[in-house]
Every structure is written in C-alpha cells, then in structure tokens.
Amino acid sequence: MDIFLQQIINGLVQGSIYALVALGYTMVYGIMGLINFAHGEVVMIGTLVTITVAGLLIKVGMPVALAGLAGLIAAILCCMALGWGLERIAYRPLRNAPRLTPLITAIGMSIVLQNLAMIIWGRNYLTFPPLLPKMDFEFAGANFTLVQVVIVLVSAATMGGLLFLVYRTKLGMAMRATSQNPAVASLMGVNINRVIAAAFVIGSALGAVAGVMVGTYYEIAHYQMGFMLGLKAFTAAVLGGIGNLAGAMLGGVLLGLIEALGAGYIGDLTGGFLGSHYQDIFAFVVLIVVLMFKPSGLFGEKTGDRA
C-alpha cells in the first residue's frame, strides 16, 4: 500500500509539471489553433536563465531564497519577451498561410532555440542550484520532499489564476471572443493582435514557471530538455481536449499518473512482458483509446476542422 501511495505521489508531481507546460500549449492553441512546437524550448530557456541568474547572485553572496526569486523573475521576463518575439517575428506574418506552414515555422524555431541555447550554455548538463531547503516528509511509508509539495501547489495556484484571468477579466473575455471567431471579435472592437500576443506572453510566463519547477525538482538542465517535456505536455493537452484549460490540467495530471502506475504495475500484471521499457508508450496508448471514443479529447468541444 505504501508503494502504491508512493507511485501516486510520483505521478502527481510529474503530472503537475506536465500540466503547467500543457497550459502554455493550450493557451496558444485555444486562441489561434496553432501548435506552438517551440513551447518546450521556452521552458528550457526559463530553466537555463534561472541557473545563470540565481547562480551568479548566490556567488556574490545573496541569500538563496532571494536569489531564487530573482532567478524566477528573470526567467519569467526573459520568456515573456521570447514569447512575444516568437509571435511577432515568426507567427504573425503567417496568420493567413496554409495550416501546416506555422507548424514548420514552429519546428524551425525549436531547432533555432535549441542550438542557440547550446551555443550560449554549452553542450554539457548543468546543475541547478538548490533553491528550496531540503526537507523530507514521510506519510504512511511514502517519502516526499518540500519541492514536490511546492510543485503541486504552484501548479494548482497557476491554474486558478489562469481560470480567473480567462473567465473574470476583460482580457479574458477578449481572448474567448477571439478564439470563437477572430473576424467578428475584431469587429466588436477587440484588438486581435494584442490579444494573441497576450496569449503568447502569458503562455511563455507559465513556461518559465514550469522551467524553474523542473530545474528545482531534478536539479539538472540541458539544452535538449525541452523537447521531450514539450511532447509529453502536448500529449497531455490533447488528452484533456486541446484549447480547454481545465482539460490541459487534468490531462497533465492523468498522464503523470498513467506513467507512474504503468511503470510500477503493468509489468507484473503482464508477467514481465510489458515492463517499464514501455513506460513512454502507455500515455500514447491511452491517448489513442480516448480519442477513438471522444475524438476531441476528454473535455474538448466538438468543433469543425480549422482548415
């Protein structure tokens, strides 16, 4: 039982990280129907910026907590600027282009960002400074750390804030209107360009937060860390119904749980045939099965194809 509980904790924490990243995907997709493949790279940049800034501040003698906060703010600012720049330079000119064009641009940007990061930060794995005090807890035989608690809380808080933003503020209303029909929204006086840019900037800020969380949790970073994470988060967003905020959150947590429980138990259930070497495909199998019965994800609205 303690092992089961431990796996639930493992999955929940991993899932919260996926959810944070998935929110960034879903924000952009919900508004303009674009898979921003470079979002994983935004997360990576967030982590690396924090390492540089916080590392530097700790070196000059600033208290760790303060340096960490400064690092987080620096990462958020950097990523916001990056998100804004991405939209402005790469995606905005393509708004009327064929549907696959921005996808290729996104892939191109992802390659560019990875290699830029490699040139700036090098090829080696970097260690992330421990920003939170090491505290271990034990509950019913399961171990967890302060970092894990913080990750789950931050993830939930971000979600709450985002829901408030989208459903209770004017900007949120403009976002929802744009997502429904950009042309009509602009006739109603919504500045489409600004709304879309806002979605990118907010999504990237969330990416930065996710990046710092990932860094604090695993204490390592690498210029290629964003790719796989982005892919998993994207899967989570689709699982929940892409474009739907609550769906992304739920999809993320679900994905984390599926992976942990899958790796922990499927092997024994299948007599060792499907062991943890298949950990990465449990998520995809669940995704395919869900989409077979609910073609637009768990919470997705049934919409026509955005051709």
Partner: protein, 352 residues
C-alpha cells in the same frame, strides 16, 4: 499523353536523364562519400513523395511516417541477415516489406478515421513512437528485433550473381557500390514519381483533393471518404516500406535509433518546405533539406577559419542553427513552399 511527345519536353527529359546519369560520376570526383550523400538524398525524395500522398494529396497530417520506413527496414533486415539465418533475395523482400508497411498503414488509419487535423497529428506521432519503442524492446522474451543492438550483416542487394556492394568493372569502367545503389535508387524514384503523377490526375487523386479541401462536402457528393483515407495511408506506408528496405540493404545495419521522431519531422518539413501536394516541389524540398546540412558541414567550419582565423562556434551547432533559420525564413516569405502548385499559389494570393 501528347505532352510527353512534344519535342521540347523530350529534349528536356533527355537533358535530365543525361544529368542523372552523369551525376554520380561527377560527385565521385569529390569522393565516394558524396555519392553516398546523394543516395541518401534520393532516399529522402522517395520518402517525401510517399508522405506527400498522405499529407499533400489527402490532407492528413502524419507525424509518424518514419514508422513505415522502420517497418520496411526491419522486414528487410530480418529476412536477409544471419539474425534468423534467412537470406531471401531482395526482389521478394521489397514487396513483402511494402505489404507489411501497408498493413501497418491501415492499422494506424482505421482507429484515426474520425480524427481531424491536430488530433490526428499527435496520434500519428504516438504511433511512430510506439513502433520505435517496440523495435527497441522486442529482444525479450523472444528475440525478434535484437533490441537496441540492432541487426548487422544485412545482405546487400543482389540480382543473380551481381552484387550491389563492392566495386565491379563494366565495359572497362569501374562502378563503385554507392554508384550502383544510386542507379537502383534513381530507377525506384522514377517509378515512384510516375505512380505519384498518375495518382494525382486519377479519379482517386481528385477524390483525395476533395477530401483535403472539404471532407463534409466530399462525403456529400458521394465520395467514400473512409476507404479513400485508408487508401492514402496504405499507399503512403507502402512507399515508406520500400524505402526502408533499400536503406537496410544499403547501410547493412539497422537499429531503432535511426527511426526517431525527428526523422518524421524532417520528412514532413521536406514536403511542406518544397510545396505540399506539388510533386516537383516535394522533390526539391527533399533534395535541399538532405543536402543542405552536408554542404553546411563542409562549409561552416572552413568558412569560419577563413574569416576569423579560428573556430568561434562549434560548426555542428551553427549548422543546425542555420538549418532551423532557413526553415523559418522560407515559411515566412514563401508560406506555400518554395515551389507550390500553380492552383495553390493562386488560392493564396486570392486570400491576401
């Protein structure tokens, strides 16, 4: 058909043919390594044309195309290597590979018929990963694929006693292994191009186009969208299977790491960058994207040495950086690809 008999086109075709025949010998002046690079370029042309059927003609976004290539490659590897002690001739294996890949195409296609656009993209992506991970792990409990170790000592293509590996003397000229493969690949590529051209202008091709533009309307005019979508998956997959078989034979070694997601993405980039649905455009895209990194490889390092006198930036990272930038810039200034089909171009200009 009269188009082909036009003397001016005939002249053009003759020129192309002469250039194609001369190319491996010209490239060989720079070393056989360049012939090998050319061969990979043609292999990518092959793959891009296969994917073009799915993405370009039928408008189904497939991010797991490499899976079919992998299936073809492993089919060849298993049936013509000491792994199972089988050494079947290549002309029986290539069709088998195509059929098995085709089966996988239908397997992928059938559960995803209802899905649209981006949902389809992520499911196909997942499918590609599933195939790769299975290949990486099917060495236990029964050793089928030999897992991450891959399969070595795969037989080269041979027709009768004529082997495609090693150098042979023909009419006083010596023909190296890569050069022989070049001609095999060109022959296969021409076959694929002809099939593609014929498909495009057929009833099936027009039906695919209708599905691509508006699926509901296509259904309304009596097109069996289900069967036609499956057909697109199946045909695209078979091409991938054949390409995989040739890759296996040429390389003599396959392992799952050759079939990663990034390869699927590259092939899609070739199709879109060249001009989706337009056969010459797709060929151009495939040749450019497969040769460009190689040219950059030989160009970037020496150029830095010449300009700055030392290596400022690791050539490898700069190479990929330029590659990524090229993708972004082409899409920015040529959103329909470098060489789009005339209709597509017109539509776009109408939009703006």
């Amino acid at each position: 058909m009269s188009k082909w008999l036009n003397p001016r086109s005939a002249f053009g075709i003759a020129l192309i043919a002469a250039a194609l025949i001369a190319l491996p010998f010209v490239a060989a002046m720079g070393g056989q390594a360049w012939v090998r690079i050319l061969n990979f370029a043609i292999l990518y042309v092959f793959l891009a044309l296969g994917l073009n059927i799915v993405v370009g003609f039928a408008g189904l976004l497939d991010l797991g195309y490499i899976a079919f290539y992998a299936v073809g490659a492993y089919t060849y590897a298993l049936l013509a290597s000491p792994h199972f002690g089988l050494h079947w001739p290549f002309w029986t294996i290539l069709p088998i590979g195509a059929v098995i890949a085709c089966f996988f195409g239908v397997l992928l296609g059938s559960p995803t018929l209802k899905l649209r656009g981006d949902y389809l993209a992520i499911v196909t992506l997942g499918f590609g990963e599933i195939v790769r991970i299975f290949m990486n792990n099917l060495n236990a409990p029964v050793n089928i694929t030999n897992g991450p170790q891959g399969i070595t000592l795969i037989d080269p293509v041979a027709i009768g006693g004529f082997k495609f590996s090693g150098t042979t003397q023909i009419l006083g000229y010596s023909l190296s292994g890569p050069q022989k493969y070049y001609f095999l690949l060109v022959a296969l590529a021409i076959l694929v191009i002809i099939i593609n051209l014929r498909l495009q202008n057929s009833r099936i091709g027009r039906a695919w186009q209708a599905i691509r533009e508006d699926e509901i309307a296509a259904k309304a005019v009596g097109i069996n969208t289900r069967n036609l979508k499956l057909l697109a998956f199946a045909m695209g997959a078979s091409f991938g299977g054949v390409a995989g078989g040739v890759f296996s034979a040429m390389q003599g070694f396959v392992s799952p790491e050759s079939f990663s997601l990034i390869e699927s993405i590259m092939i899609l980039a070739m199709v879109v960058l060249g001009g989706m649905g337009h056969i010459p455009g797709v060929i151009l895209g495939a040749v450019l994207l497969s040769i460009l990194p190689e040219v950059l490889r030989y160009g970037v390092g020496p150029l830095q040495m010449a300009v700055f006198g030392k290596m400022l930036i690791d050539p490898e990272s700069l190479r990929m950086l330029i590659f990524g930038l090229a993708l972004v810039l082409v899409m920015r200034f040529k959103p329909a690809g470098l060489w789009p089909s005339p209709e597509r171009k017109r539509e776009l200009q109408g939009d703006a």
